[in-house]
């Protein structure tokens, strides 16, 4: 699980172009949206694509994303349970 969290942080920084951030800046329980990392709606769509592309998870209901993308912890837990690759 720790390796997956590390990988998610790396992917987040690279795919969402968070240039001024390092892995150390993102805590496992940091809020990804709102007052946390400050991600926006386009970032949310990118995360949905990332789940599909990297882990074979298709979110049919975008509303699900609200709880899945709350933090690195929630993302890692959901991916571990649902990944097909």
């Amino acid at each position: 699980m720790d390796a997956l969290k590390q990988e998610l942080k790396e992917n987040l920084i690279e795919q969402l172009n968070l240039e001024d951030m390092t892995i150390a800046d993102i805590a496992d329980d940091d809020m990804l949206f709102g007052d946390g990392l400050g991600l926006d709606s386009i970032d949310a769509l990118e995360l949905i694509v990332m789940l599909d592309k990297s882990y074979g998870i298709k979110l049919t209901d975008p509303k699900e994303g609200r709880s899945i993308f709350e933090s690195i912890n929630t993302m890692a837990a959901y991916i571990t349970e649902n990944r097909s690759k």
Binding site: L16, N17, L18, D20, I42, L45, E46, V49, D52
Partner: protein, 206 residues
């Protein structure tokens, strides 16, 4: 032709060099566009993380506008009625290609929303408008070459009809790491350079 309008300031970015009113403000001789524009942005000390999420055309337009408008010391608490009239040849082709590549293969069909939103050239105007809180008139035209006559006519029309107090005009072209150029100028009632076709072309070619 109304000669009451003047070019108050101008900025160009080409050949790994950023110039404001004819003076070089940043130069980098060895890098290609991406590292160059990132270094030029950092040199300006503009704290705006969204810059890194922009496509290359928007980065180019944003930086040129930022260098120019920062020098105007605008009061961002007030509404600044600065219209934006941009133009280029390649439209958003660089980003269009990137998007097309992501949907080329049906077996690996993963279009990126963050790329797709930049598949229009006027998005770069939006980026500038968000940063400088501009709610003004704006247009983006596609021409085969730099068209001083059109920019002159359009900016004079916006000013004489009181649609804008100033007009940020110019050419923002990006079609590959080695084929980019931005030339923006601010038309106003202030300034010493006449907003004339001759002077616009002269500044564009410097």
């Amino acid at each position: 032709m109304n000669t009451n309008y003047h070019i108050k300031s101008y900025c160009s970015i080409k050949n790994n060099q950023v110039s404001l009113n004819g003076s070089v403000v940043y130069k980098d001789e060895e890098e290609s566009f991406s590292p160059f524009i990132k270094a030029a942005y950092k040199d300006q000390n503009t704290k705006y993380p969204k810059f890194f999420k922009m496509d290359k055309l928007s980065k180019l337009a944003f930086l040129a506008a930022d260098v120019l408008l920062k020098n105007e010391n605008l009061n961002l608490e007030e509404e600044n009625n600065i219209a934006i009239v941009f133009s280029n040849k390649a439209s958003s082709l660089d980003t269009d290609r990137k998007h097309q590549e992501s949907i080329q293969n049906k077996e690996s069909y993963f279009p990126s929303p963050a790329v797709f939103v930049y598949t229009l050239p006027n998005i770069c105007i939006g980026e500038i408008s968000i940063k400088y809180k501009l709610y003004s008139e704006n247009s983006f035209f596609i021409f085969e070459n730099f068209n001083a006559t059109h920019l002159l006519t359009y900016s004079n029309s916006l000013l004489s009809s009181n649609k804008a107090d100033q007009v940020l005009c110019g050419w923002v072209e990006f079609d590959g790491e080695d084929n980019y150029e931005a030339f923006l100028y601010l038309v106003s009632t202030e300034g010493t350079i006449t907003n004339s076709k001759q002077d616009i072309i002269k500044l564009y070619n410097t």
